[in-house]
């Protein structure tokens, strides 16, 4: 290898087979295949010939537009409340903060369907909060586009909070102190110093949250239902299409796969530039 002193500077690429025990290599390759084969299957069985026609159908466009709109709005909503929440968790000290942090991250591990049921119980027409929204303002959330946005926010916001909180913890809090000694209030220090410093974390968290919102299924169908044009997002459309028009389901899936790959590429680019 490159241990001898005469070896030229040019480093040879490491060959993965060399020195890797078979007991590790075999399951590793099996795992890799397990992850990649379904994606390949999607490409192999894609109705390439009828694809342009499938993708330009009004139903697909409707679902795609609704998905993009809801995921983007949910991400914006997550930013508005999630970044301050992340700051609170990272920068202040109060009793029960650890518990609160755990609760904030609960939607990450909670089955989305359960999230949908919980949202119904809270914001449904007879829900704990929803009954008052209905009685006082005449606002009904379930089975509306707003309901989709709320369901997606519920599921996606923890990704943003976790990402931003992690970045905040990695950022020296003494920058805020320095700003304070220069006459900045705590909010000014946050806005003019901390926010620019954690921008990469916010961007990464937003992309994660957006991708999660775009793929959201369980909470959406439970809380907002499946009405084309109003609450039927791409994942719901895929599921429905699979039962009566598999070719359309594959086409829709390809679109989501393409979006996911684009997100990954975007994230990678973001890390490369900022890290």
């Amino acid at each position: 290898m490159t241990t001898s002193r005469e070896t030229p500077r040019k480093t040879r690429p490491r060959t993965p087979g060399r020195g890797v025990p078979l007991a590790l290599l075999a399951p590793a390759l099996l795992g890799l295949a397990f992850l990649l084969v379904p994606l390949l299957a999607l490409l192999v069985r894609a109705p390439w010939r009828s694809l342009p026609e499938q993708l330009t159908s009004p139903e697909v466009w409707q679902a795609l537009r609704l998905s993009l709109f809801c995921a983007t709005t949910a991400t914006a909503l997550s930013l508005v409340v999630g970044v301050p929440l992340a700051w609170l968790l990272a920068r202040t000290d109060f009793p029960g903060r650890g518990l609160l942090r755990a609760l904030v991250t609960l939607p990450l591990v909670l089955p989305p369907v359960v999230g949908g049921v919980a949202l119904l119980l809270a914001l449904g027409r007879n829900g704990v909060v929803g009954q008052w929204l209905d009685a006082w303002f005449g606002i009904t959330l379930p089975f509306t586009t707003t309901g989709v946005i709320l369901a997606e926010t519920f599921v996606a916001m923890p990704f943003l909070v976790i990402s931003v909180e992690g970045t905040l913890r990695a950022t020296d809090p003494r920058y805020e102190e320095a700003a304070t000694t220069l006459g900045a209030s705590r909010f000014t220090a946050f806005r003019r110093v901390t926010l620019p410093l954690i921008a990469p974390g916010i961007a990464a968290g937003s992309v994660l949250a957006w991708a999660r919102a775009l793929g959201e299924f369980g909470a959406t169908i439970t809380f907002a239902g499946n009405f084309p044009g109003r609450t039927q997002t791409m994942p719901l459309a895929v599921y429905l299409a699979l039962q009566n028009d598999p070719a359309a389901a594959i086409a829709l899936s390809l679109v989501l796969l393409a979006v996911s790959i684009a997100v990954l590429a975007g994230l990678r680019d973001r890390w490369m530039r900022t890290v």
């Binding site: 320095a178 000694t181 220069l182 006459g183 900045a184 410093l197």
Partner: protein, 369 residues
């Protein structure tokens, strides 16, 4: 290292009262901060135009004192008055205090100019006005060419000056510097120390700097306050402290062997055991000090030596000190001795080797404790 401080240029007439008088200009503080098992309790006063250095080992509480002055660490008890105004309950953003942090903490996303303009902006200046003021400060620091540079493009010395300009741009009545030269390499340090000294000399309000480096403290400050374990152990002018150290830490800083004991005429009976003969004449609790260079070592008990201070010791350690070798001795008396490399070789010194150490009475110095 200059022996005495030259008069400071650019200072107004000295205030009539001292800072400890209520209502007088300057700083008057008693800082008490409880932090679990650690307690800081120091009184600190400084007149306008005075530069005070808090000197002490790591963990002595110097930085805590600085944070308390800036309002970043709450006082458990005590008081804090600056130019007669009570700042005890004033939040940090409203205190007329500027801070130069140890690693400067320049905002990485802002240019040098915008870093300096940050303070004036927060204190109500318009964007253009704040930038004009900042440009003026950078000009004064000789950094006009680097106004547009981001902090990561600045050298250590430049970053230090930007940090100083940023702190001064808010016109503080109290300037705090936390280890202002610690982040610099030795060569830059020399140059920046001289510049900083000039800027501090021109600063008309109170400056308090924290350092563990005695040279920085002695060059930059008018008065040293030595802090150990959260307490003040000695304060005074640099030269007074160098001549009469009162703790082992200070003695080591200024390169002296220091012992505490009880004097009776020309003999000081040390708390550590043996007695030391001196030429000074005093009675009562006393310190005795002598430099490591005054110690002479022998492998066999000297017979013809006129030295009256003779102790049997063993070598505990040897290290190179410039072109000299410093030997740490234990035994009847723990002390440091300096000798030439040739002498060390001739004596065949090695850790554990028994030696006799002598010091002439004329080379010791005794003073009341």
């Amino acid at each position: 290292m200059p022996e005495t401080m030259p008069p400071r240029p650019g200072k107004g007439p000295a205030p009539a009262g001292t800072a400890s008088e209520p209502g007088a200009g300057g700083l008057d503080a008693r800082l008490v901060v409880d932090r679990g098992s650690f307690r800081l309790d120091i009184g600190l006063t400084a007149a306008q135009g005075e530069v005070v250095a808090l000197l002490g080992p790591n963990g002595a509480g110097k930085t805590t004192a600085l944070r308390a002055l800036a309002g970043l660490a709450p006082l458990t008890a005590g008081h804090l008055r600056l130019d007669g105004a009570d700042l005890h309950r004033t939040p940090p953003e409203s205190r007329p205090v500027g801070v130069v942090f140890q690693d400067y903490l320049l905002f990485p996303h802002l240019s040098a100019l915008d870093n300096v303009a940050f303070g004036p902006r927060c204190r109500g200046a318009g964007k253009a006005e704040a930038r004009a003021q900042a440009a003026e400060w950078l000009e004064r620091m000789g950094l006009a060419d680097h106004a547009g540079a981001k902090p990561r493009r600045l050298s250590g010395g430049q970053a230090q000056r930007v940090a100083l300009a940023r702190a001064l741009a808010t016109h503080p009545r109290l300037l705090l510097l936390d280890e202002p030269l610690a982040a610099l390499d030795a060569r830059t340090r020399l140059e920046v120390r001289a510049q900083l000294r000039r800027h501090l000399a021109a600063f008309e309000a109170v400056a308090v700097l924290v350092t563990h480096d005695p040279l920085d403290a002695m060059v930059l400050a008018d008065r040293l306050v030595v802090v150990e374990h959260g307490r003040i152990v000695q304060e005074g002018s640099p030269s007074a402290i160098a001549r009469h150290p009162r703790t082992e830490y200070i003695a080591q800083l200024v390169g002296l062997n220091l012992y505490r004991g009880h004097a009776d005429g020309h003999t000081v009976r040390l708390d550590a055991g043996p007695a030391v003969s001196t030429t000074d004449d005093l009675t009562g609790p006393a310190f005795v000090a002598f430099p490591p260079g005054a110690v002479t070592l022998y492998r066999d008990r000297p017979t013809g030596s006129s030295a009256r201070n003779l102790w049997h010791c063993a070598i505990a350690g040897l290290e190179t000190h410039g072109d000299q070798i410093r030997a740490e001795l234990t035994g009847e008396l723990s002390l440091a001795a300096d000798l030439t490399t040739a002498a060390a070789a001739e004596l065949d010194l090695h850790p554990g080797a028994p030696v006799w150490a002598t010091v002439k009475a004329t080379q010791t110095h005794a003073y009341p404790a």
